[in-house]
Amino acid sequence: MVKHLIKKHLKVKSIVFSIVCLLNLSFNAQLGLAAEAAKLSAQATEGEKLFKANCTSCHAMDIKQVGPALQGVHTRRSEEWLVKWIRNNEKLRASGDKDAIAVFNENNKVAMNLFENLSEDQVKSIVTYFKEWTAPVKAKPADGETAPKANFYSETTLYILGFLMVILLVVLLILRRTKNSLKQSLKEIEGEVKEIAEPSAFQEKLAYYKKRTNPTIFKLGVGIIILLLLASYGFYFGVTEVGVQQGYRPEQPIKYSHKIHAGELQIDCKYCHSTAEKSKQASVPSVNTCMNCHKAVQLRDRYEGEISPEIKKIYAAMDYNAEDQTYGNNPKPIRWIRIHNLPDHAFFNHSMHVKGAGVTCQTCHGPIQTMEVVEQYSTLQMAWCINCHKERKIDVENNPYYEKLHAKIKQEKDNKSSTYSKYFTKDGKIDISPAQNGALECSKCHY
């Protein structure tokens, strides 16, 4: 019987061990194979810049938007034709160019903007970009941010496994106890006389203290300690959890996908969030911004000739009739759900960060270009703000606003007693963080 029990014990142990191993494996699994971007020639890089600045609101390389997909366009048309078309398509059409008229008709007779402000060389560089463009293997998270959280296992499975482990541990303890008591009774049956051991020095001491301690006070003391522990947990919970909505991803009235717009179509963030460089608020775009593209982009090809139901919601908001292209008199504003809720007493200014300090959107909003549904990426806690203000550097050399600060730092470089002498790296470069320039002061954000 004992043997049997021991065997069973070993079995349990092995199961637990294997579960733990399995878990470890999954933890160690590495994901996020970042693809290397195709190397472009200097001319094509120039072209890419121009393309993103001027064209992406209507064109993508691989998908048809308002304008046709441009992948391989250089094989379909001559470079000369492309230059003429891009710079002034109206003129080209007026000249009776058959291809031009055909393209115009194919694309619902939506006239393309004129780009006479671009020089011929610039347009050529765009065409070079078309030539050298290759489809990206995988969207790469911008700005060296951490890879998106792996979805290989979900948190629920983790919880279930953890729960199982706890149950198994409990079973283990019970079994151990049963085994011990069985062992004891076995000994008794076998007639082994139980020895009464001499109390050890430790046991004696314990007994002494037990005698001296008032049991009520002891219980109270233990109670207070437990209460204090609970309270400190409550405090910790309050500080880290209450009002922190990290990961908040509500369902929005329109299933707008940043993954498609910002990721795949690579529309510049500031095309829609146009006030991010001018104002406190980055602002959700007004619905007419959506209509700029979606008047034409209806995705009928994916919905059996019908307009996409999500795009229909935009039309409903504007009371727009897609058939006869008219606006009605019954528009209904869209009530988006606010994700990033800063408390009212904290004043965050987008323009200062985006334009003034050159912080990318992803620094705070995470890999937004991969999010199908947007979620709050950062904690938005004050400590998070402060960290960034401590870590980033101010570009005092290139912004005349900091003229005086810059001069002062340079002047005090060798004056070791001055605070300013601290603002240098070992190799003598100026190194001053916003925090060192007063960005941690209360009324910089609270007023």
Binding site: G328, I334, W336, F347, K355, Y402, K408, T419, Y420, C442
Partner: protein, 1074 residues
């Protein structure tokens, strides 16, 4: 060094009553209601252990439940089609014209996401010059007043029935036609209108209804000047001239409060303060010497170099005496007045001499509404050659045009049935006129009566229809406040309610409101956005083609952008007019106006906030303390000390005043230092009735004093001789802010005289530098000097008039709540900025009464304790009581704006247990509300007493129904400033939101900050340019120059607080004691 002047804040401090001394030593004004809290009976609870456990358990459960609650879902609702000019989060500014009174200051309106949140002076406007008065500032809140009518109404007894515009138009047009056919007359009764387009609309209306008369009626009008100018210079000169204070070296005023309420105070303050500059003045340099003769202590009186108390009913005597003195100097005949007089010390004669010295660069004005007195004033100015220089009839003012006689005739004809139709436009005679009952009786007889009032005011409630006009911030309009100076008013918000511009209504009734063919506001589809104003907009545009001599859209839009035709406004050359009146013929009439010396004069006045009462439903104005008495939320009888003593009346008593059949019962009393003996004063603009007050708090604040206006030589006079005053039982505590702190004999305000400053630029400011020491280590940033900015402010006490405009401006900019009368009594006013007013006695009979009365012998240089104070008081009581009180009417006043001084070493910062108030590297004392736990230690330790504790959630509490607690009133909140909750300290932040905004802009645009780019709210509003804010680290900044000025000093410098605010010594032009 000159003898140190001693100042006091109020009678109670001067006389040191036992109550005052006791209360000053307590932390709280009233005893804390501890007994109440602990007495079981009052709570009706038998608190014991079980209850404690119950409450404890409940609170724990409630808190845990509350904690479980997820944050509420918040929405973002973007525009469907975003207007091109709006960037969410960025303010837009529009130039317009203030509509709070007919002075028509040019203003710049700040809007956020399409709602106006602040009105400031337009820097290019020749009228406002960038300043604005308290009333103008506060007028923005009247836009968001829930008492405004939500649409056209039909009045049925005391009820209002809603109707729609179409049926109102039909009914009114039918009546108008019926009246015309019946041969009756229609009157349009309005306040002064100087809008060329509105006048054209009225003319068009007259063309359709030829039986129409336009009657201009001003509540507190200037008929006297208008009639005198007509009589003196010809019928075509019946207007108010331009008074050029900037060209004068001496101004003598008889009761005209030109810095406070007289005609165009903002314009005059601007010019006056510009002419009072003393920096770098040469030995023979001149400032504008100001001499005033008056009864009530007015704002101008407190700022004058010489102030002579006068019984206003004797004004004719003194003005004729001044004329005769000047006539002697000029060598012309004197006026044969039998009643003659001179003030103590030969004041009139000396005034005449100073005027004569500045012939051609002087000015005499009078606040009297008597045309005969004004004619003599014209005569004086002619003797002094002032026409063509300081007084300009060519570039005259249009700001007030009402003749009382026209209105009196109208009231008679309305009752006799001549007028069968009446239209009231921006006019409320049932409240403001002494003929109130006559008008309301007459209105019952009229076939048609319509009011354009935006609220159901007294007159509107006696009309048949109310066709509510837009607020001026919702309106198109124009103005011509001065001949040739044209301004535009543009809407900065679409109509909040279903209201319609009065001009559009008139055009509609005249059948001229056809929608223009190319209406710019009529768009198709979702762009459809209709403004009822558009009819009138097209009308104005066509009129302006002629004004601008350019019909192009561009010209009009440029004028609209600028706020008027400022760049084209050129003054005409001014000349000396011919005098067409024999002053001798007036003497008989003048003699009649002279009151009996032994009788009491009642002098009505407008105070600087509520003014004529048209904006009395405005809590910001009600809570602005009167500059002289510091009383809020009430009008009161202002008594001279002598009269109070003789009748045994004290502050807090109540009196009845009667004049024949007219009486005011149960008025509170305020013993006003500076009130002339034999006179009492009371402010108009209070005691509004009608629908306005129905909701409670505004119900009849104070009492109506308009019935005391009496006819004198054909116009309404604000002065009546022979009122009776009688003390009655009862007590009333006025909500006064002045006694909330005490001066304790400290050196807080400094002043000197012009003569001294000419020889010694440090005059009045040459106190020995105190020995400074500190307990604290100098912080790093101070050691090295703040590298970027060090914000600072300089306030010129010589320019500041104490008008209170900055107080209102600050409250609007910083979302400072209004607390109401009861809370002000408890010393809980929230104003971040206050204007301290310090009195001192003029030397009369070579006795320094301040020193006599003020128990400085015991206090000077010693610590003041309750015990020494009380001991000194006993000494005073045994000392002789003043047998005569002439010194009480001879007070000098210094105003001192006081707000957080942003101490470099702040006493508040060292005592805060939670570091809620800290110092920034830019020199600001920062207050972090979300950290504050409300211990109030900081307020206790603040030597300047500028910290305010927020006792209630004023924005969400029905006990404080001051527009801040409803959705409409909240529209005025500045989104860049936190709305504080209860339980926190708050104080001036030096408008840190503007600082941060401007810095961000500069960083974004990669450039340095320019001096003057950041302006604090108080600075922007100041009509006297007394406040300068800037960066003292910037070598070229204005504020740095002022910090180095010899006149600059820090208040309580001996405390080594190293304040970031410096004051500049006040200078009075009183070399020679009169």
């Amino acid at each position: 060094m000159a003898k140190k002047q001693l100042y006091w804040k109020g009678e109670e401090e001067l006389l040191r009553s036992k109550e005052f001394l006791a209360s000053q030593k307590n932390e709280f004004n009233e005893a804390l209601p501890l007994d109440e809290v602990f007495s079981e009976n009052d709570l009706g609870l038998n608190s014991n252990r079980r209850d404690f456990l119950k409450f404890f358990g409940f609170s724990v459960a409630a808190v845990s439940l509350a904690a479980c609650n997820k944050a509420p879902v918040r929405n973002i609702v973007p525009y469907l089609v975003k207007p091109e000019e709006i960037t969410p989060g960025v303010a837009n500014y529009y130039n317009s014209t203030c509509g709070a009174c007919s002075s028509a200051c040019g203003v710049t309106v700040k809007t956020r996401e399409g709602r106006p949140i602040k009105v400031d002076g337009n820097v290019n406007s020749p009228i406002s010059g960038g300043g604005l008065c308290a009333t103008g500032q506060a007028s923005i809140l009247s836009l968001y007043d829930t008492e405004r009518l939500d649409g056209p109404k039909k009045v049925n007894g005391s009820n209002l029935e809603s109707t729609d515009w179409a049926s109102l138009d039909t009914a009114v047009t039918a009546q108008l036609n019926a009246i015309q056919i019946a041969g009756g007359k229609v009157a349009i009764v309005s306040g002064t209108i100087h809008s060329p387009s509105t006048l054209a609309v009225i003319n068009d209306f007259k063309t359709k209804y030829t039986n129409t008369t336009h009657i201009t009626y001003d509540a507190m009008g200037y008929s006297g000047i208008l009639m005198a100018n007509k009589a003196s210079f010809g019928d075509d000169k019946g207007f108010i001239p331009s008074y050029n204070f900037d060209k004068a070296n001496v101004v003598v005023s008889f009761g005209a409060d030109f810095l406070g309420t007289w005609i165009s105070p903002v314009e005059y303050t601007k010019a006056w303060s510009a002419k009072r500059k003393v920096d770098g003045i040469s030995a023979d340099g001149k400032v504008l010497k100001t001499i005033i003769f008056e009864s009530n202590l007015s704002l101008t009186g407190t700022n004058a170099d010489y102030r002579f108390p006068m019984k206003t009913s004797q004004e004719a005597v003194y003005i004729v005496a001044l004329y005769n003195n000047l006539a002697t100097l000029a060598g012309v005949a004197q006026l044969p007045m039998t009643k003659t007089g001179e003030l103590a010390g030969g004041a009139i004669k000396q005034t005449a001499e100073s005027l004569w010295k500045e012939k051609g660069a002087s000015m005499v004005i009078s606040g009297s509404n008597d045309p005969k007195i004004q004619s003599v004033v014209n005569g004086i100015n002619l003797l002094l050659n002032n026409y063509g220089t300081t007084i300009d009839l060519e570039n005259h003012s249009n700001q007030y045009k009402g003749f009382d006689a026209d209105f009196i005739q109208f009231s008679n004809e309305l009752n006799s049935g001549v007028y069968q139709g009446v239209i009231f436009m921006n006019s409320n005679p049932v409240y403001t006129s002494p003929l109130s009952e006559k008008i309301s009786a007459g209105l019952k007889k009229a076939k048609l009566s319509v009011s354009f009032a935006g609220t159901a005011d007294e007159t509107a409630m006696h009309c048949q229809y109310i066709a509510p006009d837009n607020h001026y911030l919702e309106s198109w309009n124009d103005a011509e406040p001065k001949a040739g100076l044209f301004q535009l008013t543009q809407p900065t918000i679409s109509e909040v309610f279903d209201t319609r511009q009065a001009q559009t209504s008139l055009l509609t009734w005249a059948g001229l409101a056809a929608k223009p063919a190319n209406d710019p506001f009529e768009h198709k589809g979702i762009y459809s956005q209709k403004l009822s104003a558009s009819v009138y907009y097209m009308y104005i545009k066509s009129k302006w083609a002629a004004i601008l001599e350019d019909a192009s859209d561009e010209a009009f839009n440029t004028a609209l952008h600028d706020g008027g035709n400022f760049d084209k406004y050129k003054k005409k050359p001014s000349s000396v007019p011919a005098f067409a009146i024999a002053l001798n013929s007036l003497v008989a009439d003048l003699e009649k106006t002279v009151g009996k010396k032994e009788e009491i004069d009642l002098v009505l006045y407008q105070n600087i906030s509520v003014k004529d009462g048209s904006l009395s439903n405005n809590p910001w104005l009600q809570e602005t303390p009167d500059p002289m008495s510091k009383v809020t939320w009430d009008n009161y009888i202002s008594l001279p000390k002598a009269l109070a003593e003789s009748k045994d009346i004290k502050n807090g008593d109540m009196v009845n005043i009667t004049l024949g059949a007219i009486s005011m019962k149960g008025m509170p009393v305020f013993v006003q230092p500076g009130q002339s003996n034999g006179t009492i004063g009371v402010a108009v603009g209070y005691g509004r009735q009608g629908k306005v007050g129905e909701k409670g708090v505004f119900d009849a604040i104070g009492k109506n004093a308009y019935p005391f206006l009496t006819l004198q030589n054909g116009t309404y006079s604000t002065v009546t001789n022979g009122v009776k005053i009688e003390k009655i039982a009862g007590a009333y505590e006025l909500a006064q802010t002045q006694t909330h702190h005490s001066i304790e004999g400290r050196d807080i305000v400094r002043e000197t005289t012009l003569g001294e400053i000419k020889t010694n630029p440090k005059a009045g400011n040459d106190a020995a530098a105190p020995h400074l020491y500190t307990l604290w280590e100098t912080k790093d940033y101070k050691k090295d000097g703040a590298p970027n900015h060090h914000w600072a402010m300089a306030i010129d006490l010589n320019a500041c008039t104490g008008c209170g405009s900055c107080v209102v401006s600050c409250s609007i900019e910083n979302n400072v709540p209004v607390v109401g009368r009861a809370e002000v009594r408890r010393r809980r006013e929230m104003h971040w900025m206050r204007i301290d007013r310090y009195f001192t006695f003029e030397n009369v009979n070579n006795t320094d009464y301040t020193k006599e009365l003020f128990l400085s012998r015991d206090f000077e240089g010693k610590n003041v304790t309750k015990e020494t104070g009380l001991a000194a008081l006993d000494k005073l009581e045994s000392a002789k009581k003043g047998a005569e009180y002439t010194y009480w009417e001879n007070v000098k006043v210094v105003h001192q704006p006081m707000m957080c001084q942003h101490c470099g070493q702040a006493p508040c910062e060292t005592v805060c247990p939670v570091l809620a108030t800290t110092h920034s590297s830019e020199g600001l004392n920062q207050m972090t509300y979300n950290r504050c736990i409300g211990t109030k230690y900081c307020a206790n330790n603040c030597p300047y007493k500028v910290r305010r504790f927020n006792w209630f959630r004023y924005n969400d509490n029905d006990r404080f129904d001051f527009h801040f607690n409803n959705d409409l009133g909240k529209m005025v909140i500045n989104p860049d400033v936190t709305v504080r909750t209860r339980g926190v300290m708050e104080k001036c932040s030096m408008c840190v939101q503007s600082i941060q905004g401007a810095k961000t802009k500069a960083k974004r645009e990669k450039r340095t900050l320019a001096d003057g780019e950041i302006k604090t709210a108080c600075q922007r509003s100041c009509p006297a340019n007394a406040i300068v804010f800037g960066d003292v680290n910037d070598e070229n900044s204005e504020v740095r120059k002022l910090f180095k000025n010899e006149r600059s000093y820090r208040v309580l410098e001996e405390l080594n607080t190293m304040t970031a605010v410096k004051y500049l010594v006040k200078v009075r032009d009183t070399e020679k004691q009169a």
